[in-house]
Symmetry: C3
Subunit: 318 residues, 3 copies
């Protein structure tokens, strides 16, 4: 991700103009000085194993690699100008492993420039990116509607498109992005989705951030594209850490997110330890960690949990 | 809809008495001066086409009229005294098209008198009306329970019943009404449902109001009884409009409502662009429109979207 | 339930220490003076009839006892030291009938000591208790994870285990508890679940409290283990009562809770009369009763309502 500034009046002035209807909200205005964050993200064919250890440790079921592996297409981040694929840092949740795609990070007030390239040459399918939570003009919507949508909704193999987004004051939070081209349903089922994580203008960065994406692959119920304890992410924190969970879902199912030994405050002040998240819904949870131990996090829909939607959260003492 | 006033102490005094338990909350008290809104609504047999253009434009699927059309019974508004069926104004969302039934409008403090007639003579089924969000005595509940419910829960073909409702301070919002007679499940599946839209005592009317009712008919996933872009309602607004969405659902499924290019503030202050709505749940969204363009609104459960739960929202510049 | 006090600094001091990381939050600290509530709860085999009157009164369907009865295992409360099973007081919702298990009651600031014994000798299955909403050390988590969990997650037939919990300020509310041993899914399907009901430090006890637990048994959709009006609990209140509903769910399905003729205020101030509750979610509703009559409460998912998830709420005048 590259970061730069462009000249002009500040964000507040822009917002004032936007409120007056003189400037469309979310319009990328290159004559204004606001931070620009740039990503280079491609649709890339990969071979993906949903259950790398071929094992459901809780129910003692064994799998074979051919039952748990498939050829698919995912989002991967590249160096500027499509130089080369960025490495995946395993200690950073939702970095560049493939499922989910690279987490797009910004602060309220930032402009986001997302260069997208479709490298899905083999299957010949068009793809796109559609972003939740942020502001954009219709041309950057990335959603296919015959007679209405433009080239960004239907990027052919080998082609590129640049989406321009703006993180408004109402964009703070965690949001999904995903393919919304004509192949949307198959592509999302194959793993073409990721998270946007947007901090408030002056909000403190968390010490730990965990991306939990509920979907299904190959009949398994997955978290970040993997099924069963030992395959799903093991999240680590220490007592005293400011911990943030980005919880998102896509597909056909409603889920309930639960973390053992913990509760959190909802925006309305109520205390919660299990919360529904349906397709394309998302929420962000924060707490100051105070409960050392090895804990489960999982979807509490029992059939989903049994089919893999469960992982480990390990909290060490300071 | 006719409007009138009756004499007596004001609503606040009535509420005070209600709180003291001296007057049942929601009881229609004809000796008090409060506005009365009267509707004449009948259960009427109609022939309904879920996909009038016989076309899924996004997935390029063609249908035949016999696959998408059925005989059913819906709610229709009439002139006072059952003179004649009111025309449907296509520019008014949820007016008198059939699915959904006529939107029942009121303000907090109003009494509602709903005259219902069952004109479903052919199939010989009893019907009723059950209202969410408002106050009423058990006799106006409209829900069949053997041994408990009265005539309003089981209105025989050719018969009539008058429901008396009160919009209390906790009734502001958008709420479903529907058949709750013994034939409830079939009747709701056939389209016997509509919306109540209740403004606060001094709340400003929106410039645009869109009723979005999620259900299913004939195996299609429908919005206001229609499936696929081009059949579902096309909602129109202009930049600067105060826009209101009434989002409701009935049936067996949970949905997630999403509008492209937009976000809204929940009552707890958080920002949302996709929200779960389950059977008989409902919510009301308002925003000041600032994003010109042609946008999609849809249920984000992918299988629902693929089976028709998607429409167009067109915002023009001022 | 026995109640006692132990000596030491107050709860606030303990919390201060907990925040400093010197004392793990929720750790039972027998050297501190705080109220201790003790329960003796066993997994007990029972024969359970989901539809005791063998009748769906609304749809006029008759059943035979062999279609609606099964052998299962439930939680039952005992006198201290496992003397004998406590009687079930039918006027107290969620007392000791079996499904749901005994309601565990506490106030914020209380320590809870739950002695558990597995009397499921016949089937030879291990069982456990896992508690939502409260604080505890990993050893009292009761959830099986191979390589991580201890004896409390896998209590063998004939064995006992003591769980130690703490009701923190964020524990006020209604929460589920359930089996989380390797047999979890079958055990919960068989009825191994119950509610925790935790009052705020100085919160008023309601005049009436109703536990509504949505699950399924034998293909029926159940409330507190029973299906159809006449079998599900009949809740009673009088005008003027402070009424509390504890609404909980487990299993595979999302539900929508609705009470006829009533609405309530959500924590964010909005008015609600139907609310989604997914597996392991829970919420607590309170209102001052002002609507005399015989009302329905039910899950508004139509297929669930048709398969039994419906009951009666009877409000008498003062």
């Amino acid at each position: 991700m590259t970061k730069a500034s462009v000249r002009g009046p500040g964000v507040l002035a822009l917002l004032a103009l936007a409120l007056l209807g003189l400037v469309p909200a979310g319009a990328p205005a290159s004559s204004f000085r606001r931070p620009v964050r740039t990503y280079w993200i491609a649709a890339v064919p990969v071979r993906w194993n949903v259950v790398p250890n071929e094992h459901d440790a809780i129910n003692h079921v064994e799998f074979k690699a051919e039952q748990t592996t498939f050829e698919t297409v995912v989002y991967k981040a590249f160096t500027p100008g499509w130089g080369h694929e960025l490495p995946n840092r395993p200690t950073v949740s939702g970095d560049n492993d493939g499922i989910p795609g690279p987490t797009i990070r910004a602060r309220v007030g930032d402009e986001l420039v997302i260069h997208f390239r479709n490298l899905d040459i083999e299957t010949g399918r068009a793809h796109s990116m559609h972003f939740h939570g942020v502001h954009y003009r219709p041309g950057s919507d990335g959603a296919f509607v015959p007679g209405f949508s433009g080239p960004g909704a239907n990027v052919k193999p080998g082609d590129s498109f640049t989406y321009r987004l703006f993180a408004g004051p109402d964009s703070a939070g965690s949001w999904p992005y995903h393919d919304h081209s004509p192949s949307m349903v198959d592509s999302i089922g194959g793993g073409m989705y990721g998270a946007l994580s947007i901090l408030g203008k002056h909000e403190r960065k968390p010490d730990r951030e965990f991306v939990v994406f509920f979907e299904s692959q190959l009949g398994f119920m997955t978290i970040d594209g993997r099924a069963f304890v030992g395959n799903t992410p093991v999240f680590h924190a220490r007592v005293g850490d400011l911990v943030q969970w980005d919880v998102l879902a896509l597909g056909d199912d409603h889920h309930t997110f639960h973390v053992h030994g913990h509760r959190w405050r909802a925006a309305d002040g109520s205390s919660v330890d299990t919360k529904t998240v349906g397709p394309a819904e998302s929420f962000r949870i924060r707490w100051r960690e105070d409960a050392p131990g090895d804990w489960l996090y999982h979807c509490h829909v029992e059939g989903h949990m049994e089919r893999g939607m469960i992982g480990l959260y390990r909290v060490s003492r300071r």
